[in-house]
């Protein structure tokens, strides 16, 4: 029975613990296979046995200079052609004699062609390398095996990322391959200061991660804290970068996050140059960056390519869109229910006329339309692309036209929701908190009018102010106020001014 296991507890909770067929994390211990056996055949047999005869594990026996040699690899993770041509063929065809006592050295230096070579005495570690796509070579009578890097993972080509789309930026994005991602990063930062430390997370998945930073620019204490947090991560499987957020994020209870995410090598490189720490996770194109500030959610790479006045204007637009997407529906409900005197008479008359034909109250109406919108959006995201147009048409016609004609919802509210929906997509990183907060503000506005909304706004600001990660406040450089960093916040001054004082995240620490 294959049961998902999560962080020391079963997926279904304690009540399942009594069942005999249930596997708990506590029961799963590291399988120790001991040292590499001197019998090459025996090593091959053990490998076959521990994988239960899995068809992708290839164990091949042969002879090199009269000595038995066993090759083991995982099919699909290695370059088979390279194994045959550069390793197996030269070894099996070798007719001479291996230097006694230095057999493995001789093989490495005279016979095979491989740049990535290492030796392993522990069989468990050797098996782990096999799972990483390496070829294991066991030679009869040797207490260690050769581990040769012949990896060739199936991967998609480098494509333009779907998220964080840039108008004038590069058209390449990260892939699922950790090595490819590091190569893309090296292309962007051709400096010896760029450091990428390899580490592993996940007790079972042993997912490889790269902790990237720029030496001399990153703060050592911050780096140590990131490493410590990742080491302490109690997780069974790590299948995506999002799994690490919990460990890296701020401890404050908030819908916002201080862990940035990007698919773009250029953005990632820029963040590292600011002294931040990046984490590339194997198997996902989304790399993480810590710490990320609130103001960065409104910045794009295009801002640095466009003229400063236009970049400033666009940042203002994005910030305004963020405010509209959170507060507008709630404010409309609040004004409509409690503060009608604020609206000019003519406009009020039109709104009353249209809203009087509907079934629901303003609050209910707003909630219903938002529910429908979120449902359509989720359906659009999850369904097969081939039927996407059908859903769009149903959504547009039913919600946009029929619902208003039928008197289920009012046209003004529909306009408000449509505007809000568009605005919420401007800063896509903030979509998750926006969609939840918007609903909360509709409820608060319907309950206590503008006063409630402002109290809610106050709570939101204080919560945002309480957020800090690695000593950097989330609302910096606005609060705490840092005048010299405002030049690249909501405003964007000229490149000359920006280069006079280069932004470093450590300068924003409290």
């Amino acid at each position: 029975m294959n049961i998902p296991i999560i962080c020391g507890e079963t997926f279904f909770g304690d009540f399942m613990k009594s069942r005999d067929d249930f596997l708990l994390v506590e029961d799963v211990k590291e399988m120790s296979l001991g040292a590499v056996n001197k019998s090459a055949v025996e090593n091959g047999r053990i490998i076959k046995e521990i994988f239960g005869g899995s068809f992708d594990i290839v164990v091949k026996k042969g002879y090199c200079a009269g000595k038995c040699v066993v090759f083991a690899n995982c099919d699909g993770l290695c370059d088979s052609m390279r194994i045959c041509e550069a390793i197996i063929n030269p070894m099996l065809r070798f007719q001479g004699e291996l230097t006694k006592g230095y057999e493995l050295d001789y093989i490495c230096t005279h016979l095979i062609y491989s740049t990535e070579q290492s030796r392993e005495k522990d069989l468990s570690s050797a098996v782990m390398m096999l799972l990483r796509g390496c070829l294991l070579v066991f030679l009869e009578g040797e207490s260690e095996c050769l581990v040769l890097g012949v990896q060739h993972y199936p991967e998609r080509s480098i494509q333009e990322p779907d998220t964080g789309v840039q108008e004038f930026g590069a058209r390449e994005g990260f892939t699922e391959n950790i090595k490819t991602n590091l190569t893309l990063l090296r292309k962007k930062i051709c400096s010896s200061k760029l450091c990428a430390e390899l580490s592993e997370v996940g007790k079972q998945s042993k997912t490889r991660i790269l902790i990237c930073y720029m030496q001399g620019r990153v703060e050592k204490e911050m780096l140590l804290r990131v490493k410590r947090r990742l080491e302490k991560l109690e997780m069974d499987t790590v299948l995506g970068s999002g799994y690490l957020r919990k460990a890296l994020d701020t401890k404050a209870i908030t819908p916002f996050t201080m862990v940035g995410q990007t698919e773009r090598p250029d953005v990632f490189a820029a963040k590292l140059c600011e002294g931040k720490i990046g984490i590339i996770v194997d198997g996902t194109p989304f790399a993480l960056v810590v710490p990320e500030l609130f103001v960065e959610k409104f910045q794009t790479l295009d801002d640095y390519i466009n003229r400063p006045y236009y970049a400033t204007f666009m940042r203002g637009v994005r910030f305004l869109a963020f405010l509209i997407s959170i507060f507008l529906p709630g404010m409309f409900v609040a004004i409509g229910l409690f503060h009608q005197e604020m609206i000019p008479d003519d406009m009020l008359f039109n709104i009353v006329l249209m809203e009087s034909n509907t079934l629901f109250t303003l609050t209910m109406e707003a909630l219903v339309i938002h529910f429908i919108y979120e449902t359509v959006r989720e359906a659009g995201l999850r369904m097969p692309k081939s039927i996407g147009h059908a859903v769009s048409i149903v959504g547009a016609l039913v919600i946009g036209d029929a619902a208003v004609t039928a008197g289920l919802i009012g046209a003004p509210m529909l306009i408000i929701v449509a505007l809000t929906a568009i605005c919420s997509l401007v800063s896509s990183d903030l979509y998750q908190p926006i969609s939840v907060l918007r609903i909360l503000f509709i409820l608060v506005g319907g309950f206590s009018g503008l006063y409630g909304i402002f109290i809610g706004g106050a709570v939101l600001v204080v919560v945002l102010s309480s957020m800090t990660a690695y000593g950097v406040p989330y609302l910096a450089p606005f609060s705490p106020f840092r005048w010299k960093f405002l030049r690249d916040s909501i405003f964007r001054t000229s490149t000359n001014k920006l280069e006079k004082q280069i932004f470093r995240i450590k300068n924003l620490r409290k």
Binding site: I453, F454, I455, A458, V463, L464, S465, S466, F478, S479
Partner: protein
Amino acid sequence: MKQRVSANQFYFALYLSVLSTVFMYLSSPDIKVSQTDSILRPVVFCVLSIVSVIPSMIVVRKHRQLKKERKYIEKTPFLKIIALFYGVVFFFSLVKTFARFDLFVSSELFPNADMTLFLACIVGVCVALSFLDIGALGRASVVFALVVASSTALVMLSLSQELDFLNFTPLMENGFGKFLGEGTLFAFQAMEIGLITVFSTQLEGDVEKGFVVWSVLSSVTFAAIFFFVVGVLGGFADTQLFPTYTAVSLASFGLLERIDALETAVWILCIVLKAALFSLAIIKSFHIAFPKLSRKITGTALFIVCSVLINFISSDIERFSFLSSDFLTVALFILSTIILPVCVILNMRRVKPVEKLQEDI
């Protein structure tokens, strides 16, 4: 670990807190708002606040000198008694703030509505915010200040068309003594000065300079607000319970015919911040007085007691009158800004150097 807050951020919070007093300034038969003297009363506030803050400033300095001895100081029984007094004083101030807000809401905003749940929610929100500590409140106040300043400027701009210079009366009409008395009473409403002693261990940066700037800036803002109240309303201001609100309700901006709801909502930011600051001070004081009492329990108790008390006061205007009586205002101000800080200083003088204390232990 205690959060630290820069003096500037802290004074931003105090500025907004003290501003809420003026936004909800109550007119009384004894002190007339309509007199032009009210524009000059903030001068008395400025002078008195600078004088009365001296003991608190000495406390801050002493705390910085006695960094090592701080944990021993907090354990002294005398300081626990002082902390208890502080807790009670700020509790009264908190209840008074909420009671005034309740009066404002029930008389101006929602005259016919039952405000029990609304007030309980606000008390709950303020107590919950106080758990985020002074650092978060200080940082948030910078953002709040921006919102409040821009909205107040907008209202002033809008009201400038309504100004009538015939509304201004001659200065010191009733003599300098009366003016001084009224100004002093106005200044004594600034209970925020007492908060400096409570948060003295968490303040960073130039506290003295920041206070002077705060005092001057607050006085200028008060004077500007009273200028518009007098200039727009004139004698009519004396007939209004909340003259500042009445003046604001005359403002309009572009498409928005009345922006009083918007402005009032902004004021509520100040009240929330003030209440959160006082709640934090109460929780902190009680934590020093009773170290075994957890902050969460103190906060929950504060929420319950405060909600019940406000509803108790809300039902009877005489109870509110007692709470905002001149005697109580003066007594609480002197206690929190002069007597208790002096007691804290005396307690610090009694503490031996840390080496000697460790030997004794």
